[in-house]
Amino acid sequence: MTYVELHCHSCFSLREGASTPLELVLRAGELGYTALALTDHDSLAGAMQFAQAAKAWEVQAVIGAEVTLSDGAHLTLLCETPRGYANLSRLLTRANLTSPRGEPRVRFEWLIEHAEGLIALSGCRKGEVAALAERGELRAAGEAASRYRDVFGSEGYFVELQENLVYEDLPRNEGLVALARDLGLGIVATNNVHYHLQERHRLHDVLVAVRHHTNLEEARPHLRANAEFYLKPPQEMERLFSDLPEAITNTARIAERCRGFDLTRDLGYVFPDYDSGNGRSADEFLRDLCYEKAREHYRSPLPEQVEIRMLKELDLIKSSKRAGFFLRLWDLLRFAHERQMPVRGRGSSVGSLVCFLLGLSGIDPIKYDLAVERFLNEARPDSDVPDIDLDFGREARAEMFRHIFETYTTERAAMVCNFIEYRSASAIRDVGKALGLPEGQIDKIAKRMHSRFAGGLEDELAAMPEFAARMKFPIWQDFLRLVNELRGMPRHLSQHSGGVIISSTRMDEQVPVEATAMPNRFICQWDKDSVADAGFIKLDLLGYPSLDQLERGLRYVEQRHGRLIKPKDIDLTDPEVYAMIQRGDTLGIVQIQSRAQIQVLLRIKVARIEDLIIQVALIRPGPIQGGAVHPYIARCLGQEPVTYDHPSLEPALKETKGVFVFQEQVIQAAMAIAGFTSGKAEQLRRAMSRKRSREAMEALRDEFFAGAAANGVDASTAATIYDKIVAFSSFGFPKSHAAAMAVTAYHIAWLKRYYPAEFYCALLNEQPMGFYSPEVIANDARRHDIAVLGLDVNQSGVECNIEETESGDAVRLGYRYVKGLGDAAWKHLEEEGKAGPYRSLWDFWRRTHLGREAIEHLIQVGAFAWTGLHERELLWQLGTFYQPLDAQMPLPVSQAETLPALRVLSDKEQIVTDLTLTGIAVRGRSMDLIADQLHEGITPSRLVNHMQAGQRVTVAGLVAVRQSPETAKGFVFHTLEDYDGLINVITAPRLIPKFRRLIESAPALIVHGHIERQERSVNVIAERFEALPVASTAGGRVHSFG
């Protein structure tokens, strides 16, 4: 007799289940379970994780769900066959798409349509039959059970008995057993598991309180009576049901029947094939298409290397039966290209010639010597499909989603979901509230843990004097433990950034689909890992605003200069562009504008697109952790010789002077050192990049060392190389991806070099897009002699536009930059602006009918300066337009004579107003706000760049960017901005405890330190900080990055 738990919730029963699928599987393995079911509430979100973990631990995974019926009653459904799984998935999809969000309900009549292949258990205490039995209404319970039996058949419907030592269990179970006997139904024991270990019941209680938005005390009516809802040893369950052995044996019988469905094996996903419509197979059509495109690009006859590469890729595509996949993508991209959408490939697919020819990437892999193995190789099993990542402009991406769902419908397409996990701050807030801890204290702790400098919760609390003493109290001990348990568990379901899956079979039979808050967008219940495990082909349609920036800038060039330029026509060898890049003049240029990137640009000479490709890939966590950056720079500068850990690495690493920069090099190195095939080497790289693959990685490690030994590579060298590969891990770019990024960066750099007004105007119009605030961008524009002009209701459009002034080109801010306006106001202003200039504030007020606050904001930012009245006079005048309802309408007469004497806004007040309402100080400089606080001895940025290493220095400025990347080992990097430019400040971790508040949140700083110089790259190494008070609104210009 072996008990199998058939009713088990994981943390994917949100705000209820208190253990992860993996914890449940591991515990089941420890307790000797041969099988375990997962039956989350109305969800299969954890099913793939569960199935994969169970497979690894050799526990049979029974897939199911506890569905909620229209009347709120629960019913446990288990998948006996693939058809049963498809039915369960469809039931959940249907429930999700027809019910209010977050409250899926299954109608009873749908069960009739979707019963095939499902085994139903009557459910927990909230099951219809159990609830009636508990109330003593046995006749009604019998009638209900008969209805379910009629749907699922007497072999497919079991009466569920739960014995959790709760008072009501005994009479209810007695009634249920009697009922089952009467109706000839089987009985089955379950424990309604909600956590894998008994001590987790506290977290379960907390989650229930969270679900009810209250604390534990108030949540008592909703809490379970005891802590018996854990995964009990089978023997314990057998003891509890010793008087009903049939209830135990039936669990094993049901599990045995459910062997008919294995989620890791039986999903039956098929990507849509492509019908060429003329009798040719997809392979033939793809080959013909590639030849046609290749001849267009390379001319006939095709260069030999092109034809060889193309045929190799086509062979790989044919052998893995993926021609339809590529053609479908080609078809989708045709839609984008025909509409001239900004689109570009990214990731490993850029290394594929076929992708290039089909328009899936914009980079010629032959020209840039990009390898395809990372994308296509002979060892990739059919089920392991390559991802295609595509970058779109923002609007283009939304258009593509619309197109995909129109083409494939929700039955064939869905977006990949993303589970937002509990992080420290959210776990602290939820646990703190549940425990009834004082809100102010919880808020303080959460904020501290939200800090980039936060360590472990226990350490942080110990460092806070008011909490250190409390830690010995049980409630705070509970708090600590519960927060740690909750962290990492799913909190809610969200959209993945751009993953879409398409299927030729019904999507809703593969995985449940839900609606999102956005119309016409639907997500499946699996995240990217589960989708990959399922073998689904995922298209990543990512938003890349830099494409919009480039497209917009080129459009301005065409509009102003009549010069139509396509990105592909831009010369990638222009020395002027490289000279600008070498100066580090790259603010606003994607990929090469960060402090770290600029520092390297100043040290090594980027003179070719190939150099830029390396540069883009170099400042990434992989090469940084792999120790590649400093050797690469030193070797570029001739400060150290180019060496290889083993001579056989030279072909792979020659391009990058002996260090690992690209993912492809990991593959090539594994092939060279360990004799791996390209497929095996790619497996190694992938194993290192995934959270769930420790075992796979260990197995491959052994193979690597064995292969290295067989190749005569000594163990020590093999270990060195292996360690570098591990350190490089996943956070590096494939060269193909870096090439795509570098080419876009170059295009934007070209725009900046030759059309700066268009560049800055496009950049300001595409904000927000990340790195620098509009204010910092505007200051950079000024340093390039592009003035930034303030709002003017007779000059401004909705967006920023370019004006020619006597002193050169300028960017005029648009209405989008003014707080308090919105879509409707923008549209109205655009329309009304066409009717001619405004003659006065009265004229504007009368014609636009904008809200008072919006007009006040426009006045305050100087948009009516042309009237000759200052802001306060205009505000006073505006006030006179608003009269009581019964008052006489004001007359459009000049009121200048009647104006009271009002003080003009000071320069600082104007700057603060500009920053507050537009984010950009147009009338003055933000630095003016702190200028009078700067004391003797402060060195401006233009001089800092000429100082020698080791010289002592004091600098001051507004914080433009604050960074503390994980790879920096606790170091913090500030970019300060003063009147002349930017200053880099590096702060060692030891200074953080003493100056944490300033380092973490000050909008402006005085920094005492010394100069560190490496070639042209200059940093200030901080030793001490001084506060520099500044109007709080200036803080909004700081962009902080982890």
Binding site: E168, R224, A434, F473
Partner: protein, 96 residues
Amino acid sequence: MVGHTRGTADTRRIRRLKTPRSVEVETAADGTPLRVQLGSAWQDVTSVRRPWRIDQHWWRGEPVRRDYYCLAPADGPPLTLYHDLVGDEWFRQEYR
């Protein structure tokens, strides 16, 4: 009495409790009461309903962990006893 889990309380079953009184009990190895001291006399337990357990209020610093038993003494009406698992004491629960 113990609240229903996740459900609305069935008011027909609610009974008011008296303050529990300490009681001496002899148990079997699995904790089931065998004899109970009522007044000065010890009585054998003739039958015991399946026990139920409560485990609540852990966040108050004084958790309530009890196993309840409905039992019939050899002489007298049925009793409800509980074993306080925190203090390892037995109490008799009476209803008004």
